[in-house]
């Protein structure tokens, strides 16, 4: 049982939770995640460790309540408990001093980006941050990222904050300007966004790292459910990743695999009319 120290809603359906997990707080490095099971009988889901406080023995999670498990987790109040928190898992980000770096976050992916951007800045890199969201209220961690970024660009799909459009707009300008072109780009967000960023940076030949979010079961390499195709080879995102070279990732396959359980009914049968009819007779 792991105690929830605090839990606040920082944007619509986006919560910041501080959890007491002393060993994970001590061992974690940027880029790593934990597997969380809210209560007995529930799913195990992966969540990135956004921050830590080893002295207090706590980690911070930033959770977007998208489905059953995440909704149940964010419903646990301060003083309550999460049944299982295991980690830190995944390979830590390779934090190098590269000079100019662009960190691109989309939606809740910004939460996953945050610890990377912070570590990259601490390592002496000049970090430009680009964050995007559907509308103003989905642009998260602006102040926190601003604290160590040289500059921050904001984009929203409806133009309610920053530039109207996608994160690729300011990124394109950076890439096109030889005086601003980053040595590397880190991108975390929905799969279509990471794909768009990777396609863009490929044309400029700028190394790009993305953090993949396939469905996971154990998070320790035991099930292979998190497999992704990178440079034509099967990789397990939980032990070989979650960060990979964006120019080598098969994003379409990842998108398809992520929808697996959305296309099933309560019994696990496919929501395919033809098949459903077949099963009746």
């Amino acid at each position: 049982m792991f105690r929830v120290i605090s839990n606040e809603e920082i944007a619509p359906q986006l919560n910041r939770m501080v959890i007491e997990v002393p060993r994970v707080a001590r061992a974690r490095k940027p880029g790593q995640f934990v597997m969380v099971r809210c209560s007995a009988g529930r799913e195990r889901i992966p969540l990135t460790i956004a921050d830590d406080d080893p002295k207090a023995g706590t980690i911070t999670l930033i959770i977007q309540a998208v489905g059953t498990s995440t909704k149940e987790i964010v419903a646990v109040p301060a003083g309550g408990y999460l049944t299982d928190v295991a980690g830190p898992l995944g390979l830590p980000t390779e934090i190098e001093r590269l000079g100019r770096i662009a960190c691109v976050g989309g939606g809740a992916g910004t939460a996953v980006l945050f610890p990377l951007a912070k570590a990259l800045a601490q390592a002496g890199n000049e970090v430009t941050t680009i964050i995007g969201g559907r509308s103003e209220q989905y642009v998260i961690l602006l102040k926190e990222l601003g604290a160590f970024s040289k500059q921050v660009f904001v984009t929203t799909e409806d133009g309610s904050s920053g530039e109207k459009g996608f994160v690729t707009l300011p990124l394109q300008r950076l890439l096109a300007d030889p005086n601003q072109r980053p040595a590397a780009v880190y991108a975390v967000g929905p799969v279509p966004m990471m794909k768009a960023v990777s396609n863009l940076t490929r044309t400029f030949g700028v190394h790009t790292i993305v953090s993949l979010n396939p469905i996971m079961v154990d998070g320790t390499g035991m099930c292979g459910g998190c497999r992704v195709t990178v440079a034509g080879k099967i990789k397990f995102a939980c032990v070989d990743g979650p960060e990979f070279d964006g120019h080598q990732v098969d994003f379409d396959e990842l998108s398809a695999r992520q929808t697996t359980y959305l296309e099933l009914d309560d019994h696990g049968c496919r929501l395919d009319p033809q098949l459903a009819a077949m099963q009746k007779d």
């Binding site: 060993r23 529930r42 099933l264």
Partner: protein, 473 residues
């Protein structure tokens, strides 16, 4: 009771294991074998002719004193039988159910030369279940040594070592990566073969012995082996095999393709398929094809049937004779209506427009010359390719060593398969650190993992003999 003459013993037929009706059990997850009654067990025990040279004992990887315990069963002295069994085997309720007896103890039983071997496994299970019901729980030893030992992994290897060390008076702390105990006994082998109540019982027994079990600790990540080696007087590593292998054919990442590990973990560990709202989901289909021929494949295909597949198909590259699965499981699967397609190898998995599996393209094989394993090598028959429509594919090809712990522990010596190298006492290249089970042997068996666990426990005890406990209680 007057002792039977050898002739009278030879006249008794092998007992039949009462089973759940095949039609009924193919729709539920409760255990297939119902267990022997006392009378049937005693009668079966009388079939043993107590051979002088005891070939059965040589056939058992941990040399269970088979004729001795069986003689006690024949006399109706089950308590005595349980005590004898316990000396060599820490988890008899488990091994009695899952050991491949036909290639071990029963495979060399003299009675098997003419007719059927003594049902050693079923008797072992009978005695263990009887003991769990009738004998008092073990107590922790009254004297403690003050030594503390860390055990990594709560599979059969870890559980066995922990039990033996606790009985020797050492304080044991098990660290388990998952949220529940038992390793493959919990997440791999299904309830219908090994009820989880049996695993719970073994774990409870360890707790009574004073063993502390902590879940959600991934050694190599949450804590390192080096940290454990500093904090504890000795360490035993039994983190199992791990990484599932895939077919390496196109289409393997389409929706509806599972590794057996994932398929079984979702059902056994996470309770998928029980229609728990908000619980772990699993995809079902009319036709499920499982590739492989071992225990894992049998467990996968029989689970698919129980999840409602109209056609649960096991596709294997060789023939029934070469299948490595326990013969009892193959027979049970056949009774349950599992469809076996032999001499068939996958070429490609095909999907519909939405990326869901719709068929596998397979090729017929024929057996050629024996390969390195002594089994005849399957050879493709040109022009024999065809498509098998299906909605779910489960890949049960085995596992390779999980590098998570070993990568974080450079001082351990590994072989070319990334398994940990140990000596005859299960000691690794790191002082005070021992290892056993699948992480040392590659995918092996429950009894071999337990055997390693026991050897390691004595190795650790000996290692600690001339040391002083690091932490005075």
């Amino acid at each position: 009771m007057t002792a039977l003459t050898p002739k009278e013993r030879l006249a008794i037929d092998r007992v039949k294991m009462p089973e759940q009706d095949a039609k009924q059990r193919a729709c539920n997850f409760t255990e297939v074998n119902l267990g022997l009654t006392q009378e049937r067990a005693m009668e079966e025990a009388q079939r043993c002719i107590a051979c002088k040279n005891k070939p059965c004992v040589d056939g058992c990887p941990v040399a269970v004193r088979i004729p001795e315990f069986i003689t006690a069963v024949a006399a109706g002295n089950f308590e005595e039988a349980a005590r004898i069994l316990r000396v060599d085997n820490a988890l008899p309720a488990t091994t009695g159910r899952v050991c491949p007896q036909e290639v071990q103890c029963e495979g060399v039983c003299v009675r098997g030369k003419k007719g059927h071997p003594v049902a050693i496994g079923w008797l072992e299970r009978f005695v263990a279940d009887w003991a769990a019901e009738h004998m008092p729980k073990e107590h922790p030893p009254t004297t403690t040594t003050g030594f503390r030992v860390a055990v990594v992994g709560s599979g059969p290897g870890g559980l066995t070592t922990a039990g033996e060390l606790a009985r020797l008076g050492h304080k044991v702390h098990i660290f388990e990566a998952l949220h529940d105990t038992g390793g493959v006994l919990r997440y791999g082998i299904p309830e219908f073969r090994l009820p989880k109540a049996v695993v719970d019982r073994e774990v409870e027994n360890l707790r009574t012995l004073g063993v502390v079990i902590e879940c959600n600790v991934i050694v190599g990540r949450t804590l390192t082996v080096d940290e454990l080696a500093v904090a504890f007087d000795a360490v035993f590593i039994a983190n199992g095999a791990g990484l599932p292998m895939f077919l390496d054919v196109p289409g393997e990442n389409f929706k509806g393709v599972y590794s057996a590990n994932e398929y079984l973990t979702r059902v056994n560990l996470m309770g998928a398929g029980q229609d728990l709202k908000g619980g772990t989901p699993i995809a079902r289909g009319e036709t499920v094809v499982v590739f492989g021929g071992g225990n894992v494949a049998m467990d996968g295909v029989r689970t698919a049937k129980r999840l409602g597949a109209a056609h649960a198909i096991c596709a294997y590259r060789r023939t029934r004779a070469e299948m490595p699965a326990r013969s009892e499981e193959i027979a049970h699967a056949e009774e349950e209506g599992i469809e076996f397609h032999y001499l068939l190898a996958p070429l490609e998995i095909l999907a519909d427009a939405k990326g869901w599996v719709r068929a596998v393209r397979v090729q017929k094989m024929q057996l050629g010359e024996p390969d390195a394993s002594g089994r005849r090598r399957p050879m493709p028959i040109a022009g024999s390719e065809f498509e098998m429509p299906c909605q779910i594919v489960v890949v049960a090809l085995g596992t390779t060593a999980n590098p998570l712990l070993t990568n974080a522990t450079p001082a351990l010596k590994l072989n070319k398969w990334q398994n940990i190298v140990v000596d005859a006492k299960q000691a690794t290249a790191m002082a005070g650190v021992f290892a056993g089970g699948d992480i040392v042997r590659g995918g092996a068996t429950v009894i071999l993992a337990m055997g390693d666990g026991k050897v390691a426990a004595f190795g650790i005890d000996e290692y600690l003999k001339n040391k002083i406990p690091k932490h005075q209680a």
